[in-house]
């Protein structure tokens, strides 16, 4: 029933609905025609349903091994496990564009469903902008990357999937990352709608913030998952390579983080309005250009998709319309927006401005490092590389002040503050940071690592202090503290948790700079020592898998003679692809990862030797745990009653929220 033709038809239908969604409400809003504007939610939901049908029919074709569909024949195979048949749908270019469009459709439907309390003209315009963007991507999908194209004669079996992608972590990575990228389309649409209306006010800031926070949570999780994937699949023991694909996700994350902070200033103080609008446009523009420029092959990356310059021209045209159009509108309308008032540098809003300056400088640095090589190559015909040394030397000095200000920013009151009372409250956190610094001097090597570790503990301690101060912990009776904690707005708790999450991630990064590793070529039975552990290669065996054969090593790790773990790193040879992957063995106790990789086999069959790579990675899990905590903090603040989109203004504000906000 769900044939590829139905899927193709549904996609075309979605494209038409999206065009209608983009035009009719826009006309309605400018003519103040309530009937035309009222069509917006229905069209958005209809578009989402059509895309859902289209996506389901592609999944159905993949699950039923319909190799007459070119996309399935090229990327799937009968022997592929069911899970990867489903997730493989978005593991290739065509399918991932369809997933991208589906998520954009879901965003439009979400605004339609949850935006009932928005002013009708604003809601119509937001939905219309989302519809226009969706039209472009659905056209791209239909014309240059049709996932439903048939081939004849259909092959008996498909060509299979890149084995590197055959991994549960990567299977769910794209949907989460894309939700983050595409989610920023909603703040973008709000920004465009505000420019069309020519009005940005505190209410606009309140409406746009939850959408930005939600997208930010997904993007944070997506980046963390990608980093975790490269850690345990690529088998190099590294977690971040400053690769263009990784930078492409980091750049919108940095501007997105700036956006969720500057939107607070718009909401509370009606300042930074034009800047916030620009950030919303920039974040989505970076999301778009990052993902799509990577596909066009301009950026040299290890994870690149198959490149096709012709496709790149279409993408570039599309980006030109979306980004160029929105920036032209910005250049035309923004100067006429009323600028916000001035404010004292030492205040909550002053701290948030500083946060924005530092985050955007970081973004500029990462952007420069990423774009410099292709630009140099274009202008001066020179190929150069920008790698870890550049990024380490430029990003850490910018990040350190950010961490320091993150400590006391949330404790500063609005409008006009004095630094000294806040610093007095933070004496305990300062002592913790100083102690951490002292310990780090002995434990870590490298000035930047020591400073990062101290800054991380400062952020965590300051976040805890913030909550303790607000609940008067240890000063008032316990019952009072609990009562105050319950009255505390969730946004405040979420902020503290997210900031503490940053500290945990940074602590993990600082400790990982001290990771130890060793590469050896040994016969079976040898014991190697690394980081106080004895690693013994006990045996290497051949084992068959579902669509590969594996060479599995048994690696015993002992500490002071006591068995810690038996690790089984392996090397898989995939029959259908003539490709091998390494399967890393990781043992973690949450304080450190023991990480073993089996490499090539050398020497005669009678007495072979094996290349082994052993890593000791202190606090490695904390890097990703911290990111999850950040996302959790964001999600918690989303559940704050004040953040709910268009939450009815309750008559009596709770005492706690009026005193802290």
């Amino acid at each position: 029933m769900l044939s590829p033709e139905l899927g193709h038809y549904a996609l075309a239908l979605a494209c038409v609905l999206a065009a209608a969604q983009g035009l009719i409400p826009l006309i309605g809003a400018s003519r103040r025609d309530a009937r035309l504007m009222a069509l917006a939610p229905g069209l958005a939901i209809g578009q989402m349903i059509a895309l859902g049908v289209s996506f389901l029919s592609l999944i159905y074709a993949a699950v039923t091994d319909d190799f007459s569909v070119q996309n399935i024949a090229e990327n799937s195979a009968v022997s592929k496990p069911l899970l990867y048949k489903i997730t493989g749908v978005w593991g290739n270019h065509e399918g991932s564009i369809l997933l991208w469009a589906l998520i954009l459709g879901l965003c439009g439907a979400a605004v339609a469903a949850f935006g009932r309390n928005l002013p009708s003209a604003l809601r119509a315009r937001v939905i219309a902008v989302l519809g226009l963007v969706a039209t472009g991507f659905e056209l791209f999908c239909l014309t240059t990357s049709d996932p439903f194209a048939r081939i004849w004669p259909a092959p008996m079996d498909g060509q299979g999937m890149n084995p590197l992608l055959q991994d549960p972590g990567l299977a769910f990575h794209p949907p989460i990352l894309y939700t983050g990228y595409v989610g920023f389309a909603v703040p973008f649409a709000f920004a465009i709608a505000a420019l069309i209306e020519g009005r940005v006010d505190a209410a606009w800031g309140r409406w746009v913030r939850p959408w930005a926070v939600a997208a930010w949570c997904f993007l944070t999780c997506g980046i963390a998952m990608g980093s975790w994937w490269s850690y345990y699949v690529l088998g190099w023991g590294g977690y971040w390579f400053w690769d263009p694909v990784e930078n492409a996700s980091l750049i919108p994350w940095l501007t997105g983080t700036a956006l969720i902070h500057s939107a607070i200033v718009v909401e509370k103080r009606e300042a930074l309005k034009i800047w916030t609008v620009l950030l919303a446009i920039a974040t989505f523009s970076f999301s778009l250009s990052g993902t799509f420029l990577v596909r066009s092959g301009i950026l040299n990356s290890v994870h690149a998709f198959a490149n096709d310059p012709a496709r790149g021209v279409f993408i570039l045209g599309l980006l030109g319309v979306v980004i160029g159009g929105s920036l032209a509108l910005f250049a035309y309308r923004a100067p006429t927006l009323t600028a916000g008032g001035l404010f004292a540098p030492i205040s909550r809003e002053g701290a948030l401005v500083l946060n924005n300056i530092l985050l955007c400088s970081l973004c500029a640095v990462v952007l420069t490092g990423t774009m410099y090589p292709p630009f140099m190559s274009l202008l001066f015909d020179r190929t150069i590389s920008v790698g870890k040394p550049f990024f380490d030397a430029t990003t850490i000095p910018l990040a350190l002040p950010l961490f320091i200000f993150m400590g006391f920013g949330p404790m500063l009151p609005w409008k006009r503050a004095q630094l000294w009372p806040v610093l007095q409250k933070l004496w305990l956190a300062a002592i913790v940071a100083a102690l951490a610094c002292a310990v780090a001097v002995f434990e870590l090597s490298g000035l930047l690592a020591i400073l990062c570790a101290a800054a991380a503990l400062w952020v965590i301690a300051a976040s805890v202090t913030d909550l303790a101060e607000r609940t008067r912990l240890f000063r008032a009776p316990v019952a009072t503290s609990i009562q105050r904690a319950r009255m505390l707005p969730r946004a405040i708790i979420g902020t503290a948790i997210a900031h503490a999450g940053v500290g945990i991630t940074v602590l993990g990064l600082a400790a990982m700079s001290q990771a130890q590793h060793k590469i050896v070529e040994v016969p079976i039975g040898t014991t190697e020592q690394l980081a106080g552990y004895d690693w013994t290669l006990k045996a290497v065996k051949q084992e068959p898998g579902p669509n590969y054969t594996a060479m599995v090593a048994t690696l015993e790790v002992r500490r002071n003679g006591r068995l810690v773990t038996v690790m089984r790193p392996s090397k898989r040879s995939f029959n259908s692809q003539n490709q091998t992957t390494t399967d890393v063995a990781i043992h973690t106790n949450m304080l450190a990862d023991l990480y073993g990789v089996l490499g090539d086999r050398h020497g005669p069959d009678t007495n072979p030797t094996y290349v082994l790579r052993l890593h000791y990675n202190p606090l490695a899990p904390w890097m990703w745990l911290g990111a999850l905590i950040m996302a959790f903090g964001g999600a918690l603040s989303l559940s704050d009653r004040r953040m709910r989109i268009g939450a009815p203004q309750r008559a009596k504000p709770t005492p706690a929220s009026s005193s802290v906000s």
Partner: protein, 191 residues
């Protein structure tokens, strides 16, 4: 004194800056894509500019106790030498080392430590083994620019007379060595 209209003009110019920036980037990307289609610009295939050309002029600091090398040394070669750019901070380089160690007896290899501290290079080679008969230190990355490398590891096969015969920007694997590199060395050595 600035009049309100001056002020507005200035604001207009300021607000148009993002558009101008995006426009410049867009034109550059279009040039790149256009070049990729016509084969004049290829960010992946860094072979083209160096292949079958003489080695560039470069200077390297020596890394005692190993002997250093210069452009002249490469120009005076009578049999092929593999020149490998590596760094202790580069994990793929580490992964490549055991492979280079197995190649040591079949091919002469000279190493260039790229943007690395001498003590880190020394400890890197102590741990992973040293396949190089000569070593140079490119602490500033200048030699890397002269050679036009895009990152580390990168490997060049320099033939007799100092002509670059082969190049890869990926870590060497047993497969590349046996299928591509060694047959090429064989051909270069039998005139």
């Amino acid at each position: 004194m600035t009049t309100p209209s001056d002020n507005l003009t200035r604001r207009r110019l300021l607000m148009a800056l993002p558009l101008a920036g995006a426009g410049v980037a867009g034109v550059a990307f279009w040039k790149m894509l256009d070049g990729m289609e016509h084969g004049s610009f290829n960010p992946h295939d860094i072979n083209a500019p160096v292949l079958d050309r003489p080695v560039p002029d470069f200077t390297l600091a020596p890394l005692p106790p190993a002997e250093g090398f210069t452009t002249q040394n490469l120009q005076q070669l009578d049999k092929p030498v593999l020149v490998n750019f590596f760094a202790s901070w580069c994990i793929p380089c580490l992964a490549e080392m055991p492979t280079l160690m197995t190649l040591k007896d079949k091919l002469t290899m000279w190493g260039i430590a790229y943007k690395d501290k001498p003590e880190n290079t020394a400890s890197f080679l102590r741990h992973s083994g040293n396949p190089f008969t000569r070593l140079g230190d490119d602490h500033t990355g200048r030699a890397g620019i002269e050679w036009g490398i895009s990152g580390v590891p990168e490997t060049f096969l320099v033939g007799a007379g100092g002509i670059i015969r082969w190049h890869t920007a990926a870590p060497l694997t047993d497969q590349t060595i046996n299928k591509v590199l060694l047959p090429l060395v064989q051909r270069l050595q039998t005139p």
